[in-house]
Symmetry: C2
Subunit: 597 residues, 2 copies
Amino acid sequence: MAEIEHVRHTLAHLLAAAVKDAYPHAKPTIGPAIDTGFYYDFDFSGGEQPNDEALKDLQKRMKKLLNVWTEFTHEEVSADKAREVFAGNQFKRELIDNLEKEGSTITLYTCGHSTSSGQGGFTDLCRGGHCEHPNKEIDTDAFKLDKVAGAYWRGDEKNPMLTRIYGLAFATKEELDAYLVQREEAIKRDHRKIGAEMKLFTSSPLVGAGLPLMQPNGMIIRKEIEDYLWSLHKNKGYSRVWTPHLAKEDLYITSGHAAKFGDELFRVSGKEEKFFMKPMNCPHHMQIFADNQFSYRDMPVRYFEPATVYRDEKSGQLGGLTRVRAITQDDGHLFCRVGQINQEVSTIVSIIKEFYTTMGMMDGYWVSLSVRDADKSKYLGTDEVWNTAEGALEDAAKSNGLNYKRVEGEATFYGPKLDFMFKDAIGRQWQLATIQCDFNLPERFDLSFINEQGEKERPVVIHRAISGSLERFMGVMIEHFAGAFPVWMAPVQVRVLPVSEKHTEYAKTLMKHLQQYEIRAELDDDDSLGKRIRNVKIQKVPFFLVVGDEEVANETATLESRAGKVGARPIQKICEYISNQIRQKKDSSPDIDALIA
Amino acid sequence: MAEIEHVRHTLAHLLAAAVKDAYPHAKPTIGPAIDTGFYYDFDFSGGEQPNDEALKDLQKRMKKLLNVWTEFTHEEVSADKAREVFAGNQFKRELIDNLEKEGSTITLYTCGHSTSSGQGGFTDLCRGGHCEHPNKEIDTDAFKLDKVAGAYWRGDEKNPMLTRIYGLAFATKEELDAYLVQREEAIKRDHRKIGAEMKLFTSSPLVGAGLPLMQPNGMIIRKEIEDYLWSLHKNKGYSRVWTPHLAKEDLYITSGHAAKFGDELFRVSGKEEKFFMKPMNCPHHMQIFADNQFSYRDMPVRYFEPATVYRDEKSGQLGGLTRVRAITQDDGHLFCRVGQINQEVSTIVSIIKEFYTTMGMMDGYWVSLSVRDADKSKYLGTDEVWNTAEGALEDAAKSNGLNYKRVEGEATFYGPKLDFMFKDAIGRQWQLATIQCDFNLPERFDLSFINEQGEKERPVVIHRAISGSLERFMGVMIEHFAGAFPVWMAPVQVRVLPVSEKHTEYAKTLMKHLQQYEIRAELDDDDSLGKRIRNVKIQKVPFFLVVGDEEVANETATLESRAGKVGARPIQKICEYISNQIRQKKDSSPDIDALIA
């Protein structure tokens, strides 16, 4: 079978052929394969242009054409010849002019030359990369034209607006269907939608785009995640530090971030001095390390700081919690000796495993062990140190039983790393945790500790983040749980529903019990009981307690979780059960049997 | 008796007279009363100038002159006459020229005209405010020349450098002595010195002045304070929120902070937009409130956020934790109805009392009830609302038994407030907590909730801070406790000292027990036991445990606190005792009896 990229690329040609059939005035421009299929941009000016409705007809035409798309032929041509073939298409002409300027080979690919419609096949300016035999290799049930959108020629808003037609394409119909289901589900789970409904966060035009503000409900989730992360570190030799949100330009010139981040840096002007808002926390942490003269006995030194960094993304691309200008990294930096990398990485891996097991995301995870490629001139540090560090990361990956792949050429210039990919509840993959070795910054900041010989020795730095950033991770969690958060994370953990007014006083007593157990409980005595129960379900509150005559008489409450009804239980037993679920960070459903038993 | 300001001002004249006696070439310039005494600036150019040693002689001269300083005479003179009197003194001439330009009256004050030395008394350009009879009203044991320093003429570094002589002056010798003791003690307690010794915080020239970085030890103290503050709020209806550290200029133009803070604001430039780093959190919290349409049933709404704000102070004035460009306010904003102010203020007062009782600072506190003065045009809001708010604050002050003084004219333009002044262990007064009513910002941001009539009603905002800011408060605490922090705040709570190597294993077991109780313990087995015990005391660790043969045999440890030796006790009893002291936020000393009993 053909590679899926070849299928997608071929389908882009096929789409262009179908469009030319149906809209002879259309000027095809460019059409690449993308992650979920392909698109093609056309200029329809001076004639009719297709809307979403017209896609069905185009799709039929594509399927019909495909029958005669038996194989591609290609020919190398001169720029003049190419300009002749695409006469009247100023977009293709611009591409050809550029290829000519670069001195690149110009090739034309043609397919469908024996179509029954009598047309002479469809020829496009192209570098190749198609199916060999489209009619045999493309499953007509595994692609689908998707939507029509606008797009500027070459992505530049100063250029003319073109019409982009998107198609979905996968290897099999099953994959296409799965993708469509996932996409549908993703829309329902959109964290921006749920975030607004549950009042988790907001934005303000006065504050600015990409600078979300946490509402109380969102802050509960964020703080639970942050506190959980710290609880996983505090008994493992990590110390908290705190650093300000800006620093003089010198710090980032020394670290190299000024050059790396360029105009993504927010520039800060004071009366006398110039600063940058911090794009990363590492340089600040280096300053804290450097203020001490550590000895080998003190190593490793481990700093932990959930700290907000700022990068100036274009305002048009910003939204929700995942496309922001402010991210709060759950950042940590370890300063250690090369021989200590393995042990330290193992500890971090154990934290990552515990964290993502709690989040229900360990199924289907994988790890990229990103190492150097053959061109060693691109990387900083000696072969010996690289071999040790790559070896240490791989050993740690092995001894911790990680599902890892060695990916050559994916290391950063400053060292190798382990990048953790996790799948959410609807199968989407997210790169979240990372563990990176760094030989560069300790050099740039001339860091040292005193070794056994009384000499200065350079430490290695390990950068690590478990959740990545609190904002993005929270966005992922909202979509992963579709708002039905596990009880420890839920803004409201229990809702208390008195059957009628005469049970309200008892409900208030119950509230006090719950609060004594530090359970976040809410009393709801508005409206009818039925409506209040519906609200609990719509709002995905993990537990609710109904209290009526019988419950008052027996000093019980009738418990129901998202998993179903449990029944009347003594107040204390309920409090202990829920508080236990919270402390153990369990979801509300799995252990319900323990309470029923 | 004369007012102390008059005494101080008279002493400035007397100093100038003594200086003219001893250094006839000296040109007196200006010499005001200050909080602790007085100073006078002289130009000694072209001749000898006094150093610290010479102050003794000058002081003798002052005391001698004072005998004949029986009373001041004064005369109103023309500018020409004044210029004649001070001929050759270009500084006095500049002052006279300015007075003439302003059209102000020019007066000369003379004293000591009948000195036995035969001099014709000392005349100075002055607006008055002296003792009537200096020789009777000034206690010669209650003033002391203090030090010589440099100062630019009129405080402008472009002007010539003058010589400033400082004097201390109080109403009585006892007050002077007390001040000298306090000052001596303050130098020992300087938080910058203790901060460096205990590795609490640091600064970095690469990060910038006034931007301290918290070392792990300092972060323990800071986090304990922050967590304690939140624990006092979380069961009182407050919700945590989170907001970013910058906002578009529009936010602060709307709030009025852009005009108020002017060039103290850090300006942030992005690729497309301009921002300010936030100088206050209120405008952000208004945006969070405004994102909800609250009803009267939801009121009051209470937000809590320990949030860092930035102001661009001049770099020359920066240092330690008290003169900084970044402060983390333990900020909170309440949105309520006018009728709810009293109850809300009472809750805040109860939090302040609990917090400062724990800190041992409730002795000698006082509260300024800052209200309007007669010129009502300066203030925003109707008489009715002001009367209610001032009344509510005063009622709350009364019903909570606060030691308050009504201070007219000290209200802000946006509302009345309660400012809390606390004394530290050496008697210095600090303004720390504040509760402020605000009628202005809700108006500017057009905030509302829906009242019982279904109409929009404007809430009042209460700004409150308990510690003021975490950095400054931490600086005050370091000096208040002189580094001997109560056990709950101490970076290291317990140190374990094995008598010899053979007791190290048992010491490690003991460490595990302590850690199970979440006690921050450290094992020290370097050097001799004597030296290690001395280190505990120098480093002011609240408790230490010595373990030798007897302790190993009996499964005990010998406990000593900063208050003294307790003796051998079973491990569990020690752990429970210390953990209890921590949980109850007690100091290590007072309850030691409980353990001895």
